[in-house]
């Protein structure tokens, strides 16, 4: 395709990319920023500091032949930042609910995060929102694990059945996959919305992705 030559000024390529706003939520210290940095710049910083309020990064990604630009908002998990981060929920397309598998509290707080998000994101009632539940730090020793994959899956089943994935930002396990999964899940919901209403069959179709979404992209060593 011909590249229009623009003089004078920096300009991103005219992209037909679908823009998706992604918000990463979860307790402080579960590794939200690390996930984002691993995903966007494939970089991991052992000693990264607390996020102040929010952080933002862009990433282009191709999924099923479609080009997407993910606008990722990484939020500060500490309670004192609550009123600073909530304004950013509005207009989100995808929400990553994160916990650390070696931190039970962070897992228990998932529900709080989910509710906080739904409250402030102004998601239309009755719609399914593309959440993705991410259990980070899968690189820790197995004796340090506090949340099992099954447990997490069970939680998902009870909470709208979002896809679940265990990742490690440290050794890059499943990070790309997590984001891809999130986008796919978005795309499926979107496709459903676009489809004209066809009566009862919609309900049946809704069942289908649930089956699919229960798939847990686990890391081999942890499924033993």
């Amino acid at each position: 395709m011909a590249a229009p030559s623009f003089q004078g000024r920096h300009m991103r390529q005219p992209s037909k990319n679908t823009l998706l706003k992604v918000v990463i939520l979860g307790d402080g210290g579960v590794g939200k920023s690390c996930l984002m940095n691993r995903f966007v710049s494939n970089h991991f910083d052992e000693h990264s500091f607390h996020t102040i309020g929010v952080e933002f990064l862009n990433k282009d990604i191709e999924i099923n032949g479609e080009m997407y630009t993910l606008q990722i908002w990484d939020t500060a998990g500490q309670e004192r930042f609550k009123s600073l981060r909530t304004p950013f929920y509005r207009g989100s397309d995808i929400c990553l609910l994160t916990y650390a598998i070696d931190d039970r509290t962070s897992f228990r707080n998932l529900a709080l995060w989910r509710n906080e998000f739904l409250y402030y994101a102004d998601v239309k009632e009755g719609t399914t929102f593309p959440f993705l539940v991410v259990g980070n730090k899968v690189d820790v020793e197995s004796e340090e694990r506090e949340v099992s994959c099954e447990e997490a899956r069970a939680w998902c089943m009870e909470n709208g059945n979002p896809p679940h994935v265990e990742t490690s930002a440290k050794d890059a396990t499943n990070v790309e996959e997590a984001f891809s999964l999130a986008v796919e899940s978005w795309a499926q919901l979107e496709a459903k919305l676009d489809r004209p209403y066809i009566g009862d069959t919609v309900d049946l179709q809704r069942q289908q992705p649930e089956q699919r979404s229960s798939c847990c992209l686990s890391v081999g060593s942890n499924t033993e």
């Binding site: 623009f6 004078g8 102040i52 309020g53 929010v54 933002f56 009123s83 600073l84």
Partner: protein, 1170 residues
């Protein structure tokens, strides 16, 4: 610079407001949300005027009235009635309005008649030059009678009695103070002066001062009392003498040392003077001054008298004397009399100011229309009559100034309890009393009286301070009163009350937390308490008067706003008017004290409400993809009121930092912003929501004409920037003190601006969507219109303003303070995020522009397509239709060029060109399917060349830059524009390429020798090998035929053929052929020699065995001397056509002429024969 730019935007909006239609325009936008942003702006303005209040004293109240928040205060009415004085009255201890008449008789009953006659007597024997003449005594009697409230009979009776009494014994008190510029009498140029005093009625009775040695400016300061017989006619003489020390005198002078006591000394001096005056001396008169007693005012005077000497015109010098009258009355009795007289007179004065008014028309202190003096107004000045009577009394009783002042202090303070007098009066009295008090010059009894009186004044002083808010601040006199109060207090504070005095009895000072038993005399501490108490009272007063019954949050917030406003106003008044006075008299930080109290109260009051309200805030329901369906957004108003409260509290906090720059961070209110934390998110949301709505409206009412001649964008772009500007103002007003919060909110604002810009872009492109399209029965047409260009420019304008706008938000400052607050790394991190958000915004909007540009190009495509097609169809009829295409492009591009900026024009040019290429390609493809004649494609090719020229006019020729698709098109057009024979040759050329590329000769080899000698082509066919058997018996009968290609050009040339060799796969032909070519044929470009090997069949159905091609250019060129046999043998790989999908082949398939049909048939035969 950026600020300037925004100003300009804003001014542009403002400016255009003057035009009527624009005003309507703005009103329409504002109507949308009830002037949401403007309201924020107004808040700012109000704050501004609030701050200015300090300058204009009188404007304080007027300014408060038009505020959007209605002040439900009754204070203005209360004070406005013109009786701020009432406020000063002690409401705690004030008895019911006492009957004053009763009070007088109570106090005076014992001797009122006696006092009366005493005064009458004094009037009869009036002294002093200022005293009334005989005939003027009548009004005095009259005044006195009224003041004492006696009937006429009684008056006459008492007057007779007074007349009957003998004249009083009046003394003239003389103090000889000093003399100056005396004429020298002695040889040494100096004198030894002394004074002699006497009255003409008693010349023999002389009074002498001491002698001052060797001076011309002696200071005596000596007192004398001269009995006065006839004050009307007597004259006082003052003589100054030069003492000449005669023997006797000197002897006497020697005795001075032995004299004991003042009295003895005076006796001695008298003797000296007698000596001098009886002539037994050589003293010399320096000069003499005569003072008629009638010229001396009753109240006394101090004056310089010029000394004169008989026969001498020259000045002899001046002497300064103080003169006053006094009596020999008992001083105790006299001072008591004087006090009672003072009280009677004062009460009379206060009651009958109207009368006084008549007597003293210039008396400004008295109200013209009211009988009686207003409380706190009486300034210590009696009417003329009263003044005369009082002066006569004190003179005739011989009362000292201190005693009289004390009497006034005591009596005035008594009256003050019931009828407050001006504090200034007391302040002045105290100033006179302070010296004698400090120096212990008054008796213990008098001191006791003084403090008793002080106790009567103090409550009203403290009340004045406690009720300070009820004073009218614009009135200068009330400030003077306050000043007087503080002066009184500060002077009293320097004194030590007698043992056991309790200045602040709890019975009166109910508001003061004091222990019952312990005497308390701490004036300063009580002042502190009074200030605090007053402030607390005021605070609760405000609370009570503004109590709102409305339990809604909105009402609660408004309630708080009112309260803080009132407190702020109070503080401002305190700073403006009162603080200075408190500082001056007590070094007391009045405003600071108030602030400390208020701020804790405010914090106590506001924090829980705000926290509660913030907790209950619900997020707004809207999204920027469809703003139409927004409803259910009640909390909107709440957001603004909360914001209003925020601003008020913020101003309040700022006031505190101003008052206490050092310790402001200990205030409870210091971290006020934290209470509002959740509210900010709400406001940002509201701002976004409002902005989106406004943008929608702005686009709706934009009629897409440039706002003025100098620019290329229209109203909605300006409106949108104005909205951004408003958001910036909002942010600046918020002045969020916490840096981490600031950073995050700025990120949010930038993101919101991005959304707004994208939303604007979407709305804008939606608006122009159907424009420029026209349709008639034959065709649908699209022309690029100015509106399209403006829409693009508008978005571009908005996009370009994003980065500078962000600068306006103070990003730099935030990053800098983040670096200080956290670390440089953290700051860098945050800056990176902000920059990414900005870039993202700019890019996203940039893509929107491209989208729109693409849309334009897309809309132009059908027309371009049609004109292209027509141009190709109608062959070369003067290129008419290409002209139409070019005109269309020209017209539209001209519009684009004149309206778009350079960047966007080159962008759309590229897009159109790209689209055109695609259109062209599709056109070619679709017409290939429709098997158009070569001329069609030839025409298209011509058109393409013109177009390329057109689009690449300005650009440098750069082949690599031209799009791949263009090459493809050119190729196709070239191919399909060919004649059939050309196409066939093209095909054969490709076959030759194939043959060269062939790796293994699967159909065998043919060995030949070929040579060009001039125009002769000599061919020797040697042999073939490994031919493929085609016959059933596994063998074949091969022969070779030679064709020169393209056949079209070699029709005149015979096609050589070898003999057929039977049943062999390795035939040895060994045949030579010589072909005569024309020079044109010989030099034909791309000429080919084709060798076809065939199997001869019985039935003439010769089968194809393989073919080989040799290009003319590969044939060696020699002269006649070189024989063919000398050349190298050429082994040609035999092959057969394998592909039927080559472009040339397919192009041939599209043709319907016989030539191509025959050719294809042959080729297919070759293909199928395998």
């Amino acid at each position: 610079m950026e600020e300037e730019m925004w100003r300009q935007f804003y001014e542009k909006v403002k400016e255009s407001e003057s035009k009527k239609d624009r005003t309507e325009h703005d009103i329409r936008i504002q109507e949308l949300d009830g002037g949401f942003f403007e309201k924020f702006g107004t808040l700012l303005k109000e704050q501004h005027s609030q701050q200015e209040d300090g300058d204009g004293l009188a404007s304080v109240r007027e300014d408060e009235q038009p505020r959007s928040v209605e002040l439900q205060l009754d204070i203005p009415e209360e004070t406005g009635e013109g009786s701020p004085a009432m406020a000063l009255q002690d409401s705690d201890s004030e008895p019911d309005d006492a009957d004053k008449r009763e009070f007088i008789t109570d106090a005076m009953g014992w001797n009122i008649e006696e006092l009366y006659s005493e005064i009458l007597y004094e009037i009869l024997h009036i002294v002093g030059c200022d005293a009334a003449a005989e005939e003027e005594r009548a009004p005095l009697f009259c005044y006195l009678q009224e003041a004492f409230k006696l009937d006429y009979e009684k008056h006459n009776q008492l007057l007779e009695m007074a007349r009957a009494k003998e004249a009083p014994n009046i003394l003239l008190n003389v103090e000889v103070i000093e003399a100056r510029d005396l004429r020298p009498k002695d040889a040494n140029g100096l004198s030894d002066p002394f004074c002699t005093l006497f009255l003409t009625s008693s010349v023999a009775h002389r009074y002498n001062t001491s002698v001052k040695q060797e001076t011309l400016n002696p200071v005596w300061e000596e007192h004398f009392s001269l009995p006065v017989e006839n004050p009307a006619e007597d004259v006082l003489y003052v003589e100054v003498w030069d003492f000449d020390p005669a023997e006797t005198v000197r002897e006497k002078m020697m005795k001075i040392g032995e004299v004991k006591g003042v009295r003895g000394l005076r006796k001695l001096m008298k003797e000296i003077a007698v000596t001098a005056s009886t002539g037994k001396h050589d003293n010399e008169l320096v000069g003499c001054a005569a003072l008629p007693l009638k010229n001396i005012p009753a109240s006394g005077q101090t004056l310089w008298c010029t000394l004169e000497k008989k026969g001498k015109a020259k000045k002899q010098g001046d002497v300064k004397i103080q003169l006053s009258f006094s009596s020999e009355k008992n001083s105790q009795v006299a001072s008591q009399e004087h006090r009672h007289l003072l009280r009677l007179m004062l009460l009379h004065e206060l009651e009958n100011s109207k009368e006084c008014d008549l007597e003293e028309p210039d008396g400004k202190m008295f109200s013209k229309c009211k009988v009686g003096v207003e409380p706190f107004q009486w300034n210590g000045k009696f009417s003329q009559s009263a003044e005369t009577i009082l002066t006569q009394h004190l003179v005739q009783c011989g009362l000292s100034t201190a005693v009289v002042t004390l009497a006034q202090w005591v009596e005035f303070s008594s009256v003050h309890v019931d009828h407050p007098l001006s504090f200034i009066t007391f302040s002045l009295l105290l100033q006179k009393l302070i010296k004698p008090l400090q120096n212990g010059l008054i008796t213990d009894d008098e001191e006791k009286l003084f403090w008793e009186a002080a106790k009567k004044i103090l409550p009203s002083c403290y009340n004045g301070i406690r009720k300070i808010r009820k004073l009218t601040h614009s009135d200068k006199s009330t400030l003077q009163q306050l000043s007087a109060i503080l002066s009184i207090l500060s002077q009293l504070a320097t004194l030590q009350p007698p043992e056991g005095t309790n200045l602040f009895p709890p019975s009166i000072y109910g508001w003061l937390a004091v222990s019952e038993n312990e005497p308390n005399c701490d004036i300063r501490a009580t002042l502190d308490a009074a200030v605090t108490q007053g402030a607390e009272d005021w605070f609760f007063h405000i609370l009570e008067n503004n109590n709102s019954n409305d339990p809604s949050e909105e009402a609660q917030l408004n309630h708080l706003i009112r309260i803080i406003q009132l407190l702020r106003t109070d503080l401002q008044k305190a700073i403006e008017f009162h603080d200075r006075l408190f500082q001056q008299y007590f070094r007391f930080s009045y405003a600071k004290t108030l602030y400390k109290l208020y701020e804790s109260k405010v914090a106590e009051l506001v924090e829980p409400v705000v926290t509660e309200v913030c907790k209950s805030l619900k997020p707004l329901k809207f999204n920027d993809r469809a703003t139409d369906g927004i409803c259910d957004n009640d909390p909107l108003l709440m957001g603004t009121t909360l914001f209003e409260l925020y601003l008020i509290v913020q101003r309040f906090a700022v006031l505190g930092t101003g008052l206490c720059p050092v310790d402001s961070d200990v205030f409870n209110i210091h971290n006020f912003h934290l209470w509002f934390h959740a509210g900010v998110a709400q406001w940002l949301d509201i701002a976004l929501y409002k902005a989106l709505q406004r943008i929608k409206k702005a686009v709706e009412i934009d009629n897409l004409v440039p706002v003025d001649g100098s620019v290329k964008y229209s109203s909605s772009a300006v409106d949108t920037l104005a909205i951004f500007y408003q958001i910036k103002i909002f942010w600046k007003q918020l002045a969020w003190p916490d840096v981490e919060g600031s950073y995050t909110f700025v990120a949010k604002i930038i993101d919101d601006i991005c959304r707004c810009s994208v939303f604007y872009a979407d709305q804008m492109s939606g608006k122009v969507e159907g424009m420029g399209e026209s349709q008639n029965v034959y065709e649908k047409k699209f022309e690029v219109t100015n509106e399209w260009c403006l829409a693009i420019n508008n978005i571009d304008y908005v996009q370009q303003s994003i980065q500078p706008f962000v600068g306006e938000l103070g990003m730099e400052e935030i990053v800098t303070s983040l670096a200080n607050f956290r670390s440089q790394t953290a700051a860098d991190h945050c800056q990176r995020t902000l920059q990414l958000v900005i870039d993202n915004a700019v890019d996203t909007v940039g893509n929107k522009i491209l989208e729109l540009l693409e849309k334009v190009a897309e809309k132009m495509a059908p027309a371009i397509n049609r004109f292209l097609l027509e141009g190709a169809e109608l062959l070369k009829q003067e290129n008419n239709c290409v002209d139409r295409l070019m005109k269309y492009l020209d017209d539209n591009l001209l519009t684009l060029h004149s309206h778009l900026n350079t960047d966007n024009f080159s962008r759309i040019l590229s897009i159109i060109w790209e689209n055109l290429s695609h259109t062209m390609y599709e056109l070619v493809e679709s017409n290939l399917e429709r098997r158009r004649p070569p001329t069609f494609f030839l025409n298209l090719h011509e058109t393409l060349k013109i177009l390329v020229g057109f689009f690449k006019q300005g650009e440098e020729k750069n082949e690599t830059n031209s799009p791949a698709i263009l090459k493809q098109i050119e190729h196709l057009l070239l191919l399909h524009g060919m004649e059939t024979w050309e196409l066939i040759h093209q095909y054969n050329l490709e076959r030759r390429e194939e043959q060269i590329a062939l790796e293994l000769p699967n159909l065998g080899l043919l060995t030949v020798r070929i040579q060009f000698v001039e125009d002769l082509l000599r061919i020797e066919i040697l042999n073939a090998r490994n031919l493929h058997a085609m016959d059933a018996n596994g063998s074949c009968d091969p022969y070779v035929k030679v064709h020169l290609l393209p056949e079209e050009k070699f029709r005149t040339v015979t096609k050589p053929r070898t003999k057929t060799h039977k049943k062999t796969m390795f035939p040895l032909f060994d045949e030579n052929f010589t072909l005569h070519l024309t020079p044109e044929q010989r030099h034909l470009k791309n000429g080919l020699i084709m060798f076809t090997v065939k199997d001869q069949d019985f039935l003439g159905m010769n089968e194809f065995l393989g073919e080989a091609f040799v290009s003319f250019s590969d044939v060696p060129k020699t002269d006649m001397t070189t024989g063919l046999e000398e050349l190298e043998q050429v082994h040609l790989k035999l092959s057969r056509p394998t592909k039927q999908d080559s472009e040339a082949y397919r192009a041939l398939e599209n043709r319907h002429d016989k030539l191509s049909r025959d050719f294809l048939k042959k080729e297919k035969a070759k293909y199928s024969s395998s």
